[in-house]
């Protein structure tokens, strides 16, 4: 091949060398850039192959979706026996809530998104009107779920269960624990010795003991601390414990946020003559909360996952329903199917929450990139 000659400065732009761009280049750079890297890729591919092959076979191809019992399932095919779920899907979602009244749960659940929308998405149109609805929503939800007013049938707490119970516990805990957590964080940073000591003791105690012991306290001991004869629902007691527990964690997250604010901010606020509450409202909290969003959402996700612990004190959350199903001789031994189904539910909701937090973090990030 003969080299073409060009005048100085007239050399044309050459295409990049083959193997550095396009699909081929990408594969080479990201999967086979060195011997060890290629080895890793090959191991990953083999691993993935077996994993996907096994999962698809067991989950779908060889699975049985409807049968009368485990034995009937095994007669049809040897994959997963999803009949244990499909036969009881109503229980998994609503617990033992009366079948005729389940529309009330559906409506509450759907309207929950409308109530949360203005809080979660600040740019939503007509935000102000929606906010009125958000304020009104807790009463609306309470009346609709509990009944007893406006001709709605009253439903006992003990009938609550399934995913509905998880969502009720999670949402109540999350909504109540944020304000308490903020107060505790401020208390911990306070100049007042008494307030600070109290906050520290509360936070350290809650963070130091396992949640399950707190739930035992709620279920078996809380009545001793109340005037004789008081008796309120186990559901409320559990929500109180969840609130205290996650408020302590949120307080620590927010304290981190408060401590991360540059000192100049406080000095500037002092120079403007702001009092403590003005400083907190306009300077400290907006910045501290923004920094602590990832931590707060992580705490919420933790709280939401921890709602499964109520099964230990006998409430029928999805795990409780699942265990009840497994105790039935017809479905004995199908634990993997049952628990994977519940796990899928938790994965979807928790993953959505963490994605939302990433989105919010990016949106509020005012740093120039």
């Amino acid at each position: 091949m003969s080299e073409k000659t060009y005048k100085p400065g007239n050399y044309p732009d050459l295409p990049p060398p083959p193997g550095t761009v396009g699909v081929y280049g990408w594969i080479r750079q990201n999967l086979f850039s060195s011997i060890s890297n290629s080895l890793l890729t090959i191991i990953s591919v083999v691993l993935l192959y077996y994993l996907i092959d096994g999962i698809i076979g067991w989950f779908f191809l060889d699975a049985v979706f409807d049968a009368d019992s485990k034995i009937a399932c095994r007669k049809i095919d040897d994959g997963a026996c999803w009949a244990v779920i499909t036969r009881r899907v109503g229980q998994f979602v609503y617990g033992f809530y009366p079948e005729a009244e389940r529309w009330r749960i559906d409506i509450t659940f759907l309207t929950m998104f409308i109530a949360f929308a203005p809080l979660l998405y600040p740019d939503i149109p007509k935000r102000k009107w929606l906010l009125y609805f958000s304020v009104f929503y807790p009463f609306f939800a309470f009346v609709l779920i509990m009944g007893g007013y406006f001709g709605l049938q009253k439903i006992e707490y003990s009938l609550f269960g399934g995913f509905m119970l998880t969502v009720i516990l999670g949402v109540c805990g999350i909504v109540c624990s944020l304000p308490l957590g903020i107060l505790l964080a401020l208390g911990r940073q306070s100049n007042l010795t008494v307030v600070r000591t109290l906050s520290v003791c509360f936070i350290e105690f809650m963070r130091g003991v396992p949640l399950i012991t707190l739930l035992f306290v709620a279920s078996s001991m809380l009545n001793y601390f109340l005037p004789p004869g008081t008796n309120f629902s186990i559901l409320v007691r559990v929500i109180i414990m969840f609130t205290f527990f996650s408020a302590a964690y949120i307080a620590e997250v927010i304290r981190g946020g408060i401590q991360a604010i540059p000192k100049g901010q406080y000095e500037a606020a002092d120079a403007l003559g702001m009092n403590y509450w003005q400083k907190t409202r306009f300077i400290t909290l907006p910045q501290a909360l923004k920094i602590s969003i990832p931590g707060i959402v992580n705490t919420f996700i933790g709280l939401y996952k921890d709602t499964t612990l109520v099964v230990v004190i006998g409430l029928l959350d999805p795990l409780g329903i699942g265990r009840a199903a497994l105790a039935d001789t017809k479905w004995n031994g199908l634990s993997t199917e049952t628990y994977l189904f519940v796990a899928l539910f938790f994965f979807v909701s928790c993953f959505a929450m963490s994605r939302y937090s990433l989105w919010l973090e990016n949106k509020l990030n005012t740093d120039k990139k």
């Binding site: 012991t213 035992f216 109340l226 994965f347």
Partner: protein
């Protein structure tokens, strides 16, 4: 009224007044609680006493590190439970650390596929409640592993079955002392050698492969002693007798499920901590290390990791604490840890909710507080000191 308004306007006196009010309400609240407890206990004919700790427990525990039978006291049952908590936490922490660090590094690898696999592992694992992990693993071990008669055997000495894992138990015979002695000598040598090399490196810059030399010394010296003294260890191999295995070391399905679940769950969090720790190191550090010609492995070991360690260790410790606290969920599958013994069966048998829960909580609390005190000390020690 000017007197009162002056007091209220003075910052110092206002602080004192507010604190007095808070204290007053606190005292009132506590006395209210105590009064309620008194009234309730009187109505039920109960009192608060810790004597129940010394009466026979009367229940069996299937896994124990110190001798225990049902005639022993509740106190001893509680200690057995506490040791079981320690046991599962120990295994879980080892598994979680190894898996977590490996995943964290794979997550940062340039290999797109491997890093995506690690990413999805982390997402799937940490977005599912730990209790679900425990039940899932327990179910898998109980329901899918074969009966002891058809146990999966590895070389006919290790057996996996739905009654748990059985591995051979090493029994020391006479002559083992020499092996121990050599092991101690090897460890002392390694410590001294590491110090020597560190000083040498500080003075001259010459590096020795300290890790590999020490590693082989610690491995081979006892091994040589082992052969010299005529292999003074015999294995007690588990054997099938009746419906189950006898002999050997036994890991119950509950312990195995709990270890796997806690290890795998916590590994996801540790992976994220390791990743964040390595990413937190300024890019310039790596570039500077590369520009003075260090090999990639040296860049990692001498520049990145020592700095990342400072960021990683505090959250890592808090994950270990979480793991230990999460092990209390053992009660859901019947593993006899502290909560299941003292806070579970002892509570139900004696009806002393107040006392048992108080002890259980105090134990967990003291462990957490002492570890976090240790961490505060560590943090203040490794904190970057600005000039």
């Amino acid at each position: 009224m000017t007197f009162f308004s002056n007091i209220w306007r003075n910052e110092k006196s206002r602080e004192i007044i507010v604190q007095i009010i808070v204290l007053f309400f606190l005292g009132w609240f506590i006395s209210w609680l105590v009064m309620n407890v008194n009234a309730n206990f009187e109505a039920l004919g109960k009192d608060i006493s810790f004597e129940f700790l010394f009466i026979p427990a009367g229940y069996d525990i299937n896994q124990y590190l110190i001798d225990y039978d049902s005639r022993d006291s509740h106190l001893r049952a509680g200690i057995v439970g506490l040791l079981n908590t320690g046991l599962v936490a120990f295994f879980g922490i080892i598994l979680a650390t190894v898996l977590g660090i490996a995943l964290g590094i794979i997550r940062l690898s340039k290999n797109w596929l491997a890093s995506k696999i690690a990413y999805w592992y982390v997402e799937f694992t940490r977005n599912v409640p730990i209790l679900l992990h425990i039940l899932l693993w327990h179910g898998i071990i109980i329901n899918t592993l074969p009966h002891p008669r058809k146990a999966i055997s590895l070389g006919d000495i290790t057996f996996l079955s739905n009654r748990g894992f059985y591995i051979p138990k090493p029994l020391a015979e006479s002559g083992i002392e020499l092996v121990y002695l050599f092991l101690v000598v090897a460890i002392i040598f390694s410590i001294l050698f590491a110090k020597f090399c560190k000083r040498k490196q500080d003075l001259t810059g010459i590096q020795y492969p300290v890790f590999w030399i020490n590693f082989s010394v610690i491995c081979f010296l006892p091994l040589i002693a082992f052969f010299i003294s005529g292999m003074p260890v015999s294995l007690e191999i588990p054997a099938l007798k009746g419906f189950n295995f006898r002999g050997g070391m036994h890991m119950s399905p509950e312990l195995a499920a709990l270890t796997f679940a806690l290890g795998i769950y916590t590994a996801a969090f540790i992976a994220e901590i390791v990743r964040a720790g390595i990413l937190a190191i300024d890019k310039g550090q790596r570039e500077a290390a590369e520009s003075i010609g260090l090999k990639p492995s040296k860049v990692m070991n001498l520049v990145i990791l020592p700095q990342a360690r400072r960021v990683i260790i505090p959250p890592l410790t808090s994950q270990y604490l979480n793991l230990t606290k999460n092990s209390s969920l053992a009660i859901a599958i019947g593993y006899m840890d502290l909560v299941a013994t003292l806070g579970g069966i002892s509570l139900n048998q004696t009806g002393r909710e107040m006392e048992t829960m108080l002890i259980v909580m105090l134990i967990y609390l003291s462990v957490s507080l002492s570890i976090s005190a240790l961490m505060n000390w560590y943090n203040s020690k490794v904190k970057l000191v600005g000039r």
